[in-house]
């Protein structure tokens, strides 16, 4: 269902064509990273730490190297030293030293699964056997697994060189402090009739992409190298691998394979530099593929968090003050998305007085990576629960409470600047007017919860080429790996501009040498920024078509116009020409037509989503069944509504998994105990109802087609919405994730006991 507020007379945009890569995907012909094979290719495996925190006293690979079939082993000694400084790398800032230390541990291992060495052998089994024969002597240190443990006085220090300006020259596990504030918080609370204060804890969770990380590296004797891998950002793989290996960027070509899910987790590197390092040593192509356990132990999940929220409202439901403290587990190296979380936590609301303190804390867990609206879901779980409670205190419908306090055009953002045109209120109204919200939920132990969320969306750099072929069809070439149907969107934008049927446009995702710089597929930016480059490239092709038609008609270009896919001489006199008719004359009028554009996209339009969830709680087990779920999201103009809806459903499904089941479960030694999908339980179709979607299309004035971006914000509300629904079902306010049966049952029993106690006392 689309609640369109976009004007525009589109022929292709807004339709639902079959995706161009669909046949390859359903027939199994699409080539994923692990499908690549080359003559003489070797197989690599990674030796990983069994300890969460330990000093590496020695590494002895003599026995492993003697095993027949073993061709090479690399350790951190094979990597050049890297600088301890921050550098820009697409969506992320990177510290090359920490990046390198994560690829291969130096003198310490910092989490269960931390890579220590990599081996290349003639078969995967021989490589595995070589790992078994490698001897590492450790001095085991106590692990710190949570922010409380990491920040208490005398806590074991992970990184001896880590300093926080606020603590002087003292080793610390606190990497960064962010603060945002506005107004007079004390005065704000004084004006409040109701104040709610709660503490929340969320579990570290993984993106749960089905395809494990993989890489095939080929290092040629002339110093040129190629990496084939599953990634959201071939350019970032190239630049980060070059950093780690001390190679010039221009010597590395990265070929992005088809991608079996990423959700942010494939915007950094793990195996890629190892594949090149081993290839350089052996002279052969080397392929590495992670197992599921390696993915969970040693790739980048999203942080667990501890968040304290205190908010106040007047009796008539106006939010007047907020005081928030939040700390995120960065993993073994600095760089959690706590800054983003802090900027999102009350972003949907106008609060005149607030202070938000946010801390990035290193712990003995894998280094966190991006995951769909990084940092925002944890934050919204806390704030949206408290908002729900305040609405209840005020006796106001939770959607009306959000509408009353919601941001609109001109409202100041947490960081200060005012919002431009946004659609938050529209998402609330769409839910309020939905069949779902208007329906009556009946039955025992059933409850309905709502919540909202914000995400910035991103711009950054993109490039595109539009080629017009001899038969008048076109291809559109970009460097943005397709993780959500963006091939189809790029083809649709090209088809719309050039007046072609979408089936006459072939979308191509190419390697780093074949297209200009293109930042990651992330930040919900591809349809926005790469779409902007595609639009401009198609307009460039259009300009050239006009010039060619003018030549054919012996007119000036300004005497020709392009309308609905046809070239017309202004004032008539000659029959119009289609691109198909003009294409055979390209050779005599100047040669092939190639439209090009590169953008550093400005005009990003932020996204908002609001969700409503109905649940039923089993009073005996604490198991929660989601009965119905509807999400409304402001997408700006929806280019391909089915793929917008798919993103909304996917984000919501992941949010529900986060709410109800998913968590990294470490034992007291810091060893991950659920490193497989049997024990790390992501939701299946049996756990979820059909997720209903309402696409709000509040156009983004910063984009020629009104696009905002859709890939992330729908994951933000569900955790809080489920918590609020559980409260209405059984009267328990859950303040930790996952709200899994054992945790919810414990909370329910405590609640029952307190209620009975209170009744007895009465």
């Amino acid at each position: 269902m689309a609640a369109s507020t976009t004007t525009g007379n589109f022929k292709v945009i807004g339709t639902r064509p079959i995706r161009h890569d669909g046949v390859d995907k359903v027939t199994g012909r699409a080539k994923f990273g692990a499908d690549y094979a080359f003559p003489g290719m070797l197989h690599g495996k990674v030796l990983r730490s069994p300890h969460a925190h330990a000093i590496i006293k020695s590494i002895n690979v003599d026995k492993a190297l003697k095993l027949p079939g073993v061709q090479a082993i690399v350790t951190s000694k094979d990597l050049p030293p890297a600088e301890n400084k921050l550098e820009q790398a697409g969506e992320m800032t990177i510290n090359p030293m920490y990046l390198s230390m994560n690829i291969l541990a130096r003198d310490k291992v910092l989490y269960d699964g931390h890579a220590i060495a990599a081996v290349a052998a003639t078969s995967p089994h021989i490589a595995e056997e070589a790992l078994r024969l490698s001897e590492v002597e450790y001095e085991v240190l106590p692990p710190v697994m949570a922010v409380d443990a990491a920040t208490r006085p005398g806590a074991p220090i992970l990184l001896n060189d880590l300093r926080n300006p606020e603590e002087g020259d003292k080793p610390t596990n606190v990497a960064q402090h962010y603060q945002f504030k506005r107004g007079d918080v004390a005065a704000g609370f004084k004006a409040a009739d109701y104040v709610i204060e709660r503490e929340f804890n969320t579990a570290m969770v993984h993106q749960g992409y089905i395809e494990p990380h993989n890489a095939v590296g080929i290092y040629n004797p002339d110093g040129q190298a190629t990496i084939y891998c599953s990634t959201q950002g071939p350019v970032i793989v190239r630049s980060l691998s070059a950093q780690v290996l001390g190679m010039p960027v221009g010597k590395i070509k990265v070929v992005p394979a088809e991608i079996g899910g990423g959700f942010g987790g494939k915007t950094t590197i793990y195996l890629e530099p190892l594949s090149l390092l081993l290839s350089k040593k052996t002279g052969a192509p080397v392929k590495l593929t992670m197992s599921r356990a390696e993915v969970l132990r040693a790739s980048g999940p999203t942080p667990g968090a501890k968040i304290k929220v205190k908010m106040g409202a007047t009796r008539d439901g106006k939010l007047v003050a907020a005081e928030i403290w939040m700390a995120y587990q960065a993993g073994a190296f600095p760089g959690s998305p706590v800054g983003a979380g802090a900027m999102c936590i009350i972003a949907p609301y106008t609060v005149e007085n607030f202070v938000i303190d946010a801390y990035d804390v290193v712990v003995n867990r894998p280094k966190t990576a991006s995951y769909r609206a990084p940092g925002a879901t944890q934050a919204a779980f806390a704030s949206e629960t408290v908002i729900d409670e305040l609405a209840e205190k005020c006796g106001i419908d939770p959607i009306d409470f959000r509408i009353k306090n919601g941001v609109k055009e001109g409202s100041p953002q947490v960081v200060g600047p005012p919002f431009k045109r946004i659609g938050f209120i529209q998402t609330c109204e769409a839910i309020k007017n939905s069949d779902h919200y208007k329906s009556k939920l009946t039955g025992k132990f059933r409850g309905r919860g709502v919540a909202s969320g914000f995400w910035f969306n991103a711009g950054m750099q993109s490039s595109a080429i539009v080629n017009i072929h001899a038969d008048g069809t076109a291809s559109v070439v970009t460097g943005s790996p397709d993780i959500g149907g963006t091939r189809a969107s790029m083809a649709m934008i090209t088809a719309e501009v050039l007046g072609l049927p979408v089936t006459d446009v072939r979308p191509i995702v190419t390697d780093t040498d074949s297209i200009g710089h293109t930042d990651v597929t992330g930040g919900s930016r591809v349809t926005f920024a790469t779409g902007m480059a595609v639009y401009e490239a198609a307009k460039d092709a259009e300009r050239q078509l006009i010039e060619r038609a003018a030549k054919v008609w012996e007119k000036k270009p300004d005497e020709v116009e392009f309308r609905a896919g046809m070239l017309h001489a202004k004032g008539g006199g000659v029959p119009p020409l289609s691109i198909k008719q003009l294409a055979p004359r390209f050779a005599r009028t100047g040669g092939p037509i190639t439209g090009r554009a590169s953008v550093s996209a400005r005009g990003v339009g932020p996204g908002f989503a609001t969700s409503v969830v109905d649940v039923e709680v089993d009073p005996d087990t604490g198991k929660v069944q989601v009965l119905r779920c509807t999400v409304a999201q402001d997408a700006g103009k929806a280019i391909h509504p089915s793929y917008v809806e798919g993103q909304m459903q996917g984000g919501t499904a992941q949010g529900i998994g986060w709410a109800l089941n998913e968590e990294y479960f470490y034992d007291d030694k810091g060893t991950l105990r659920n490193s497989g999908f049997l024990d790390y339980r992501i939701p299946t179709c049996l756990d979820l109802p059909m997720i209903e979607t309402i696409v709000v299309e509040e156009p983004n004035p910063g984009h020629p087609l009104g696009v905002r971006g859709v890939g992330e914000v729908s994951i933000v509300p569900p955790v809080a919405a489920v918590a609020n629904a559980i409260y209405r079902a059984v009267g328990v306010r859950m303040t930790q994730t996952p709200m899994s049966p054992p945790k919810l049952l414990k909370a329910m029993l405590k609640h029952r006991s307190a209620t009975q106690h209170s009744a007895a006392a009465d």
């Binding site: 510290n95 402090h177 915007t267 760089g335 800054g339 990576a369 991103a458 990003v604 910063g702």
Partner: protein
């Protein structure tokens, strides 16, 4: 004159002042003038002569992309905010 909104943790350099009017036509000029008036604050914002990777610049409500090279208008409002993405690795 353009107005610069000082980030909360940098207000120690400005004696707690949140909004400062600073003359200049580019971000570079604004940061230089800020540094002259509030010694040390420019070092918090700059690295190797450009805006630090961890900081984004908002000019009149829009994230700018040109670092110190971006132009500012006579009545522009400039915010220095943490770069989104968060990851340092």
């Amino acid at each position: 004159m353009p107005t610069v909104v000082i980030p909360a943790l940098m207000r120690k350099f400005t004696g707690g002042v949140e909004r400062v009017e600073v003359p200049g036509k580019t971000i570079r000029e604004l940061v230089n003038r800020l540094g002259e008036r509030f010694p040390g604050i420019d070092q918090q914002l700059l690295e190797d002569g450009d805006i630090r990777s961890s900081i984004a610049v908002s000019i009149d409500g829009e994230i700018a992309t040109g670092g110190v090279l971006d132009a500012v208008g006579e009545n522009s409002e400039v915010h220095f905010i943490p770069a989104i993405g968060g990851g340092q690795l």
